[in-house]
Symmetry: C2
Subunit: 456 residues, 2 copies
């Protein structure tokens, strides 16, 4: 049959897909020809840290939104690969909130162990994907950024794994055009050190605003004023961070907020205003158009493009679960392509989507959101042979984590969780997050004894 | 015949092209159907100032590289439209080095006077241009960014007027990945005020490095250290700016240069490392691939794509002349499309290109460069009815300007030149550039008397 599958992106979701196929192949199953196109020099998607902002060395939008000193903001136990646990990878039990280099090592470690790079064309960007009705195939134009040569290839399936935290959503706020300080989106935030002793405003009330405010506090910003539109995050912020309502009136280097709060000598305004689902390389009719939500319209099982299910999307949901969910989706997508799962007809798919969408619309708090996404993953896993793990335990871990954050936003990362995959309880980290200024893998993995020796 | 012409971009070169056709139409000549696609909300290309950096509100690369307080770095007399002088537009004689808002008003003023916006689809980006051999036409896919709807249209000619100072060339310098200050390209430079009291490094030795260093000096940076690769610009820099050789060793927030110069407490590194010619929307075989030079390979008369002369490029040269040259090119391109000029066959075109290229390769200093580009424009103008003006006078103005810069880089903008179009000598500006912190049109156009009244 010699079918061909294009995977666009070798970040976590693309790597999950490659791994799913590779696992089948290692089990003696015939798999289609797989080609993965990756814009960056290396795999890992968002988890590749780069000093670059804006456009990259080839003039392409920089994919990464990652900053130095980022530590996981959720317990690692809630994103663990069931078939490749953290203990499998590190050969030891590690704390629950690792910094970026540790997570990068983990995600790419599984891919490395299977040499998945042989499926990947690096520094190759998808320029144009069109569907040809006559042949029931996709024409995929890619460009090798090293040679600037284009190539058009034909595929039976296209899997979009390009993520949705790369293209910033940058609204205009009144006064920004005349503000003489720095204006930036969190996408371009790289190093909290840049803001030491600076007065900053953070606009937003979701994860980016929360974490960037904390980063700047941790690394010595003079002040962090968070402006929210509808409702505050409401954490017990330490002295030096405050949360105030928008709109903000800018004049010169001063800002005045709706509640009368003034901030003078403002150095920077950081727009933590989220990201766009953006797929300019897909022809219009193939393009998912959605905001960030738990059940984007038009994707059966959250994966299959309803108008043409040979086009698939991975990870396009708002995410509690991340790598775990990508694995579940990748297994399902693989099994459809391999013919192990037959897709029902369009009307049945629509009915299924409507059921989920209706449930999503009724969700009213994070705990219900967590249950929703847990059930979604259960539904996917029930249909495949993805390794068993205790999803209810993971869901409970998320809920406990939410409580920890409310209790103390500065210490929630010092907690330890139990793995839903192997039942191990994580050790408590040797250094509280607030004092852990070194985010290297060596520092994180060091034992207390090693740290004492080094310090001595 | 009803031929169709697509113009991609409504910046200065695209507007020159629209104006050239409109002028013909007003003279009673039948013109083809013209559609101009402009990514931005408004016309003016680079001359649109925006506070945005990186990606815009639609997730597209921000076109503008413009910063607040930019003043023309060449005499306005060397970029004057022969058929619409500065005096025509402002109804008075104005000084030789206007700030951005004044130039913006001038360029777009001519377009406005002819209502050229009726040819333009704003917020519409070219996604894909392909040539179809069978029909000898171009398929142009554009996306309306407001509605996210794509459209495919057929054209007989495509004119690429997207500029080449929009996509930053960002090399990797050793140590940038661990430098904890700010790293940015000049493309994202917006406001010198951001660098008041800061220690900065500027990398580069061309116009951006020169002007951004001066901007930061003018607006109070603590120090500006310019790192050059091959040779310094060598101006008589004021105290506070120095020019030192690369490579630079970065450690923490310190930089050490090849000559031993140290700079500690470094806040920002600004890469003034130029721009890429980047046309990702064109299929490979239509794509100009060149560095920034006076005679890019493969463009007959600097305009016509040798392999397919129905594809044209405007303004892709390194530029002494700017708007003047775009007009000359636009008139020539128009006259080829209208059939007034017959393109010779490929071998003759090649011979002509080779002659120019050979001359270009022998150029050894800016004065020869100026003569080269002057002759190039003369060659174009000789074939069309573009309004006569004194190109030799313009060339001499450029040479005088080069001398002024060498004499004093802080005062060259205080000089006054003679218009090659109407022979008027510009007045001396009421305020030396170094003291003119207000770059508004009102301040620039005010008479000394009005300034006194205002100050009083």
């Amino acid at each position: 049959m010699n079918q061909r599958v294009a995977i666009i992106g070798a970040g976590p979701s693309g790597l999950s897909q490659l791994h799913a196929f590779e696992k089948a192949r290692l089990n003696g199953i015939d798999i289609p020809e797989i080609v993965c196109f990756e814009k960056q020099k290396n795999w890992g998607g968002l988890w590749n840290y780069t000093w670059r902002t804006g456009l990259d060395e080839h003039g392409e939008p920089v994919h990464g939104s990652m900053y130095r000193y980022l530590w996981s903001n959720g317990p690692k136990e809630c994103l663990e690969f069931a078939d490749y646990t953290f203990s499998d990878h590190f050969q030891k039990n590690i704390p629950s909130f690792p910094p970026r280099p540790v997570l990068y090592d983990y995600i790419t470690g599984r891919a490395k162990s299977e040499n998945l790079d042989r499926y990947i064309q690096f520094e190759t960007v998808a320029r144009r994907v069109e569907y040809d009705q006559d042949s029931d195939q996709f024409q995929v134009v890619v460009e090798d950024l090293k040679t600037q040569q284009e190539q058009c290839q034909t595929f039976d399936y296209v899997i979009v794994a390009t993520g949705h935290f790369s293209i910033p959503n940058v609204p205009h706020l009144e006064g920004l055009e005349s503000f003489s300080g720095r204006v930036m989106h969190s996408h371009d935030f790289r190093d909290a050190e840049e803001f030491r002793d600076r007065n900053t405003v953070v606009i937003g009330s979701s994860y980016s605003a929360e974490d960037i405010a904390l980063q700047m506090y941790k690394y010595g910003a003079r002040s962090v004023t968070i402006g929210y539109r509808s409702s505050p995050m409401g954490f017990n912020w330490p002295e030096g961070i405050k949360e105030v309502p928008l709109p903000m009136k800018l004049q010169g280097k001063s800002a005045q907020f709706a509640d009368g709060t003034d901030q003078d000598d403002l150095d920077a305004i950081i727009l933590c205003t989220g990201y766009l689902h953006s797929f300019p390389f897909l022809e219009d009719s193939l393009r998912l158009k959605t905001h960030n939500c738990l059940y984007p319209d038009g994707l059966y099982k959250g994966i299959f493009w309803q108008d043409n299910p040979k086009l698939m999307y991975l990870g396009m949901q708002d995410q509690y679960y991340t790598f775990t969910m990508f694995d579940a989706q990748a297994w399902y997508a693989r099994d459809v392509i391999l013919g192990n799962i037959a897709l029902p007809e369009a009307s049945v798919r629509l009915e299924d989507m409507t059921t989920w969408k209706t449930r999503e619309e009724a969700l009213s708090n994070p705990f219900e959101d967590i249950d929703f996404q847990t059930d979604y993953i259960k539904d996917l896993c029930a249909a495949t042979d993805y390794e068993d793990f205790d999803l209810d335990a993971a869901a409970n871990a998320f809920k406990t984590w939410e409580h920890h954050k409310v209790e103390n936003i500065l210490t929630y990362r010092d907690q330890a969780f139990v793995s839903p995959c192997n039942g191990e309880k994580a050790p408590v980290h040797h250094t509280p997050w607030l004092n852990a200024l070194d985010d290297s893998m060596a520092a994180f993995l060091a034992t207390e004894k090693e740290l004492v020796v080094k310090a001595g």
